[in-house]
């Protein structure tokens, strides 16, 4: 008996409709599953590639980890502040020892999704000051997916180092507090954190840093915020801040 020419009765119309609906449902299920795979896995891989490309384009030498620089290179006076970078320009590297000894992400001007955050970079709110400036140097980054630069932001504790490197200068900030706010609470990135919109703006005198990310994880209901203040700065030519040296690990 030949296989091909078996006569089969044509299925009735209702049966065909049901089978098409069934196939559509299965297809939808597969697509949703694929979306989850893409969001949770593939965006990380893509963002890591983008990060590498960004670092390569930046072309800076990796920091050297030889010995702690002398105390004398710590500067407490007014730090140099770079000129405003163009939107989308990567102008620094962010190191947070609490996130891992080899943790480093690019710091890029702007907080757009596609051009900055989704590439696994920390985005600088353009309305805030640049590293070392008097005011509030504020960064946003993903906490989950897309390279998740701020994945461990909830582990930050007061006293943890947040180190920003620009082309010529290291800025060593120290975390002071963590808080959870609602997405519209822009006062966390005000020049003096906590100044409500519309309120009289006090003249900022301190050099703050603020990290923002989503909270809880995989939700956009709230924002996780870490504030810090500048501890000292030093020229890149003077070495690497001891906060980043492997030996500092025991101290944390």
């Amino acid at each position: 008996m030949t296989r091909a020419r078996r006569a089969r009765p044509r299925p009735s119309l209702p049966l065909r409709i049901v089978s098409v609906i069934g196939e559509l449902l299965i297809t939808t299920g597969v697509l949703v599953g694929l979306f989850v795979v893409w969001q949770l896995w593939w965006t990380d891989i893509q963002a890591e590639r983008e990060q590498e490309a960004t670092f390569a384009a930046l072309g800076w030498e990796p920091p050297t980890y030889e010995a702690a620089p002398a105390e004398s290179v710590h500067h407490d006076d007014e730090p140099p502040v770079m000129e405003t970078p163009a939107e989308g320009e990567t102008f620094g590297r962010l190191y947070v020892p609490r996130f891992g000894q080899d943790y480093v992400v690019p710091v890029t001007e702007g907080v757009g999704k596609a051009d900055v955050l989704d590439k696994g970079e920390a985005g600088h709110y353009p309305e805030t000051v640049l590293p070392g400036g008097v005011g509030n140097f504020s960064l946003a980054a993903h906490r989950t997916t897309y390279g998740k630069p701020f994945h461990l932001i909830a582990d930050m504790q007061a006293g943890d180092a947040i180190v920003v490197q620009t082309e010529d200068t290291w800025y060593v900030y120290e975390a002071t507090e963590s808080l959870v706010v609602l997405p519209h609470q822009v006062e966390v990135i005000a020049p003096v954190p906590g100044t409500l919109p519309g309120a009289e703006i006090p003249e900022p005198t301190e050099r703050f840093i603020t990290l923002t990310s989503c909270h809880p994880m995989f939700s956009a209901r709230e924002r996780y915020i870490v504030h810090g203040t500048l501890k000292y700065w030093m020229p890149v030519s003077s070495g690497t801040p001891e906060e980043l040296l492997p030996a500092a690990e025991g101290g944390r």
Binding site: L31, W42, F150, V186, S213, C214
Partner: protein, 52 residues
């Protein structure tokens, strides 16, 4: 729906299977590179910034 696709494909059975695999890979690629990034913008869990 998929039965129609199967009948529309040319060649012997093994060839159609390979063709379907290639089509499936192409569909997944299109989703990863184009469809999903567009959908992700509308997903409620991808906001990291504070603002109005």
């Amino acid at each position: 729906m998929y039965a129609l696709l199967w009948r529309a494909l040319p060649g012997p059975g093994w060839f159609r299977v390979i063709l379907l695999l290639v089509l499936a890979v192409a569909a997944v690629y299109a989703c990863f590179e184009w469809l999903f990034p567009q959908i992700a913008d509308y997903m409620p869990f991808n906001e990291q910034t504070v603002g109005e």
